[in-house]
Amino acid sequence: MNTRPALAQRISVASDRGFKYLMIAPAILILLLVGIFPLVYSLVVSFQNITMTEVDTSFAGALNYVQLFKDSRLWESLLHTALITMVALPLELVFGFLLAQLFLERFPGRQIFVALLVLPTVISPIVAGATWRLMFDVRFGPIGQILSFFAGEPVNILWTVNPSFVYPAIVVCEVWQWTPFMFLLLLAALSNVDQSQLEAAEIDGASYWRVLRQIVIPAITPVIAVAVLIRGLDLVRIFDIIWALTEGGPGSMTETISLYAYVIGFVQFDTSYTAAVAFLVIVILTAIVTIALRRMEMVR
């Protein structure tokens, strides 16, 4: 006698649960189509041999993945990406922090200076790269003229050709454009550091460095972590600035992974191989982000 209501109840619960899933099904379907399908499709393509002139879609096995390991240009481009990231990111962080410290104090015209400082960030990176290319121009560029003025003789540095200067040129442009981003985030974070702790430390006679090390930096570390993660990911994808400045040259000396993927994907149209490269990048980025997030969790 009791089984019937219990069954009805179970059916009702199951039906409720089913209704819930039914309601969210369209959203999940759209998410799958938009997010997962291109990924799966790219994975399928990476196991084929499609190029611009070859439309053979038969299974090519792990051909493209084997090719990845033989492709020295690919690994060099990853190395270039890592090099730029490891140099530019700390510089942006340090300069951003120093500027933020400077602008913590209230002084006349502070807001105007902040607005001016942020300007490079709102410029398109391709425009920033093109502007710096002109700045570095050996004939008309102001940098050469200033150096010549101080040297007292013509200084002809080929910033975008000479291997000794090409990376500094890229890093200068990158740091110029993105330091303000760090500055803004860190200024906001520093403004929110608990003033009572700072005042207590001051009364106790703590030195500037001790306050910085033991109060300020621990307080803003979560913001630093997020800022470093965002900028780090951006730097791994760096394209526009380098394209405008050097197009990856001289030779392939400044070719980053994004430039290389663009060249093989959209200049040479090695579609399947590009898909394999994209998957390699996804794997690397996923590993980096996972590690970074774990570290951030530890910070929290």
Partner: protein, 477 residues
């Protein structure tokens, strides 16, 4: 009976609309007459963006519409995207492009993919074969056919010439001092050793006002100069039997070392010069010699200087002082060039064909190569001999004679399957050269990259294409 048959046959032939000779019409008139049946339709043509496009936009497109009622839509595409766009349209089957401008070195790839329509049947139907014989042999024999079939009409006499300052070369004091130093007359260089000696001499005497020479050095231009020079010095790109790259031979090293050494007597920063930098420096008198395509010669003479479209070209300070010569070693690169083709994806193939026949015909092409604002260069015997063209500026006759000589013996660009990859490798190699990397190391890497592309395409497949290319009269000297 025989006479009747003959009369019947000749009557039918005369009635046939395509037999132009029977009606006494030239190829341009034949194309116009045949195209009138398509009045009211619109055809599209892919054209290189920029100055090149002003020809169909301002001149030939509107004129064709007036003559036939067919509207021409010009699709402007940057040079480095033309191949991709054409292939994308073909692969998608969209048929967005009817007629095409094709760089001849792409033809094997495009034909193999099935993107280009063979033109032979139309050439015969619309009586164009005779006029094709007027196209300079270097273009006609090298840039028109794939496997014996016509896929494009060579339509641009691209060839790289040496321009030099006649006034400096004719200066008695300079001549005397040069002869005393080097033991031969100061004249356009016959080989690259002479080029280096003359260039250094002028720089020593006149710099910084005028340097011995200046070249464009940024991508993609120098690779065409390398291709010419490498072959003229005796180099071969590949071993024809194994298809192993041989660009890293002693000849390649000699050419690379020569190219780097020349930068020393060129203006500071020449390594960064592009087409416009090189043009501006030559027109302003900063360099005494340069090598480039034919428009330099026209603009240096001041031809077209009043045109709004050419307002970006610096005013020539050297008009009347420019001499024209073949490049050192005497066979000039037919760098790039354009041929007119019909897309297989087109929905208006015959109308598109008739348009390109009209454009390319003796009559219309002579008008087009004289347009001061476009970049189409003379490419037909009738262009070289045109009395009208020879009057355009005082030295126009000498200019045409030099282009004709260059066109007769020009070297064609390397043209293999996936040629863009070989081109990119050469471009990168030369860029590394300017950065001061060891020349032999660069060449060894270049050879490895060539081999990797060949392997990917398939050695046997590529070997067959290379053999066909190498058998052409303009492939190797």
């Amino acid at each position: 009976m025989k006479r009747r048959s003959f009369l019947a046959a000749t009557s039918l032939l005369a009635l046939y609309p395509g037999s132009a000779w029977a009606e006494g019409k030239n190829a341009a008139e034949t194309a116009v007459e045949a195209a009138k049946k398509y009045a009211g339709t619109e055809i599209s043509i892919v054209w290189e963006a920029g100055l090149q496009s002003l020809d169909p936009l301002n001149y030939s497109g509107p004129k064709w519409e007036k003559l036939t009622g067919i509207k021409v839509k010009v699709v402007e595409v940057p040079t480095d995207q033309m191949f991709t766009k054409i292939m994308q349209d073909f692969r998608s089957g969209a048929g967005a492009y009817d007629a095409l401008n094709v760089i001849p070195s792409w033809m094997p790839d495009l034909v193999r993919a099935g993107a280009l329509e063979p033109l032979d049947a139309w050439v015969d139907q619309f009586g164009y074969r005779d006029e094709l014989q007027d196209i300079a042999p270097a273009y006609r024999d090298n840039q028109m056919t794939v496997d014996g079939k016509i896929y494009g009409f060579p339509d641009d006499g691209d060839v790289m010439l040496l321009y030099y300052r006649k006034d400096i070369f004719a200066d008695p004091k300079m001549k005397e001092e040069f002869k005393a130093k080097h033991g031969y007359d100061l004249a356009p260089p016959k080989d690259w050793k002479q080029f280096a000696e003359i260039g250094q001499f002028i720089t020593d005497k006149l710099a910084p006002k005028t340097y011995g020479a200046g070249f464009f050095r940024t991508a993609p231009y120098p690779q065409y100069m390398f291709q010419e020079r490498f072959r003229m010095e005796g180099g071969k790109f590949f071993d024809a039997e194994t298809m192993k790259a041989t660009v890293n031979s002693p000849v390649g090293l000699k050419v690379f070392e020569g190219m780097v050494a020349e930068n020393k007597f060129m203006p500071p920063g020449v390594e960064q010069w592009n087409f416009v930098d090189n043009l501006a420096n030559f027109l302003q008198g900063t360099t005494a010699m340069t090598i480039s395509w034919p428009p330099y010669g026209r603009w240096a003479a001041g031809y077209g200087s009043g045109e709004e479209a050419l307002s970006w070209v610096p005013k020539s300070q050297i008009a009347g002082k420019v001499g024209y010569a073949l490049n050192p070693l005497g066979r000039d690169e037919l760098g790039v060039g354009f041929a007119l083709s019909v897309s297989t994806a087109s929905k208006h193939k015959e109308a598109a064909y008739l348009f390109i026949q009209w454009l390319n015909s003796k009559q219309t092409s002579l008008e087009r190569v004289q347009l001061p604002y476009t970049l189409r260069d003379p490419f037909r015997t009738s262009h070289y001999e045109s009395a009208e063209y020879r009057k355009l500026w005082p030295d126009a006759g000498a200019y045409l004679d030099t282009i004709k000589r260059a066109g007769e013996t020009g070297l064609l660009d390397l043209s293999l399957l996936q040629q863009d990859k070989y081109d990119e490798a050469m471009t990168k190699a030369i860029s590394s050269l300017w950065a001061g990397e060891d020349a032999q190391a660069i060449l060894d890497r270049l050879a490895e990259q060539f081999d990797a592309v060949t392997q990917k395409v398939g050695v046997d497949k590529q070997k067959a294409v290379y053999k066909a290319w190498a058998a052409k009269p303009g492939a190797y000297p």
